[in-house]
Amino acid sequence: MTLPIVVKDLSFQYENDAIYILRHLNLSVAKGEIVAIVGLSGIGKSTLCYCLSGIIPHVYGGMMEGEVLLNGKSTRDLTLPEIATNLGIVFQNPDHQLFSFTVEDEIAFGPENLCVPRDEIARRIDEVLEKVGMKEFRYANPQQLSGGQRQLIALAAVLSLQPEILIFDEAMSQIDADGREKIKEMMLNLRADGKTIVIIEHDWENLQIADRVLVLKGGKLEPFTGSLS
């Protein structure tokens, strides 16, 4: 069976950087699994996240060795729009992801780019807003929502592309406790829908929902053997 995410012997070095930030890293994530990746600040968590999502090598340059396979296909051979239908990514700062004047437009943006018919876009907007519990904010300005709500809208915008894999790059770091609980609840619901989830985190308190916790250290992933409680 093809796994949603397989990372084979991945190494990465940024341009003008003397050392490899990721070194011979291997990872496999099964369908419907929540994997959390933790590590100290600056250790390469976001770099790994960019490699998983194809941002490296498609947007950011550098020396990338090894392979990242999404549903059996190398991110090198996939274009970013092709990756977008397989994998959605929610970044740390909702303000750097939302740019539309209404929640509805924000969610419609992705499907519009993929030339999804108008009726289907409207159906997807209804569906994802229902899923994230933000139906009453359909015509609201995202800038007038709280941090947690904005992050939920960023998630809804990603879900409208119907990806099977979701990556949360420290998506809970800039929101309040209520917002964090809502996002965690959403992740559990998404797992129940069969989505594969990778959480990049530095806050141990957000890891209870993970099936597996891995620690990024010295450019490699190690299983976390301690206790979260």
């Binding site: 977008a84 992801q97 740019f99 209404t102 780019n113 018919p117």
Partner: protein, 247 residues
């Protein structure tokens, strides 16, 4: 009941183009005054805020006075009204040209107020339906959306400078300009980082996946739009003809 504010944004854009073009073509002060009146009336009917136009103009009074004086200095013709040594500060022809320029400004600012009655998202959609490449239309969206945030960030950086003991009001002009360069650098870095993050987020949502894209919204012209555009066109030709005849 027909609501003027519900006009298609493309119709409003068309009116803005007509009024602004006329303001440039017409030279006669009386016709310019008539055009100004028509523009203000249109803004009022469409539901725009006329007081905000006057508030904006109030801030530009010194600029307007400067324009009139500069026009006079560089206009050799006409009767001298005010002279300093051998420099003609104010001549009747210069004054007339200055007034023309100020009226043109006034008309363009008033015409632009028509667009404030339109939803920015609809304006973008209108541009896209006018076959303007959607990458350009999105640049406009993002500019409109991020400009207030940029202003806020500039204010925050300025406050941070002031909290470090920099009192801009007490600094001489040259030093103050140098201090503003300290404001510019963090602002520039922040903008570049924000735009980089935003472009990545957009690409991860399939931006520019295909040369074309579908749209959730679609604008349609109604009868009122055609009527307003026809009236606008007639007005354009009429005022232009009168202006040409008078000159």
């Amino acid at each position: 009941m027909w609501q003027a504010a519900a006009l298609d944004p493309r119709t409003k854009l068309f009116l803005v183009l007509i009024f602004s073009s006329l303001a440039v073509f017409i030279k006669n002060v009386y016709i310019l005054l008539l055009l100004l009146f028509i523009t203000l009336l249109t803004v009022k009917v469409i539901g725009g805020d006329i007081t905000s136009i006057f508030r904006k103009l109030q801030r530009l009074i010194t600029v307007f006075v400067a324009i009139i004086v500069i026009q006079s200095i560089f206009t050799a013709e006409g009767q001298v009204i005010l002279q300093l040594v051998k420099i003609k500060l104010l001549t009747d022809v210069g004054l007339l040209r200055g007034v023309q320029t100020v009226l043109r400004f006034f008309i363009v600012i008033a015409a632009a107020a028509i667009m404030t009655t339109a939803n920015p998202r609809d304006i973008i959609q209108g541009l896209i339906q006018w076959k303007i490449p959607y990458e350009l239309a999105f640049m406009v969206t993002i500019a409109i959306r991020f400009l207030p945030l940029l202003q806020e960030e500039a204010k925050d950086t300025l406050t941070a400078l002031q909290l470090r003991g920099v009192n801009l009001k007490k600094i001489p002009l040259f030093k103050r300009l140098k201090t503003y360069s300290y404001l510019l650098m963090p602002l520039l870095v922040s903008v570049l980082m924000k735009s980089r993050d935003l472009s990545v987020a957009m690409e991860m949502r399939a931006f520019r996946a295909f040369p074309h894209r579908t749209s959730l919204r679609e604008l349609h012209f109604c009868q009122a739009d055609y009527l307003v555009m026809a009236v606008g066109m007639v007005l354009f030709l009429l005022l232009l003809m009168i202006s040409v005849k008078i000159n």
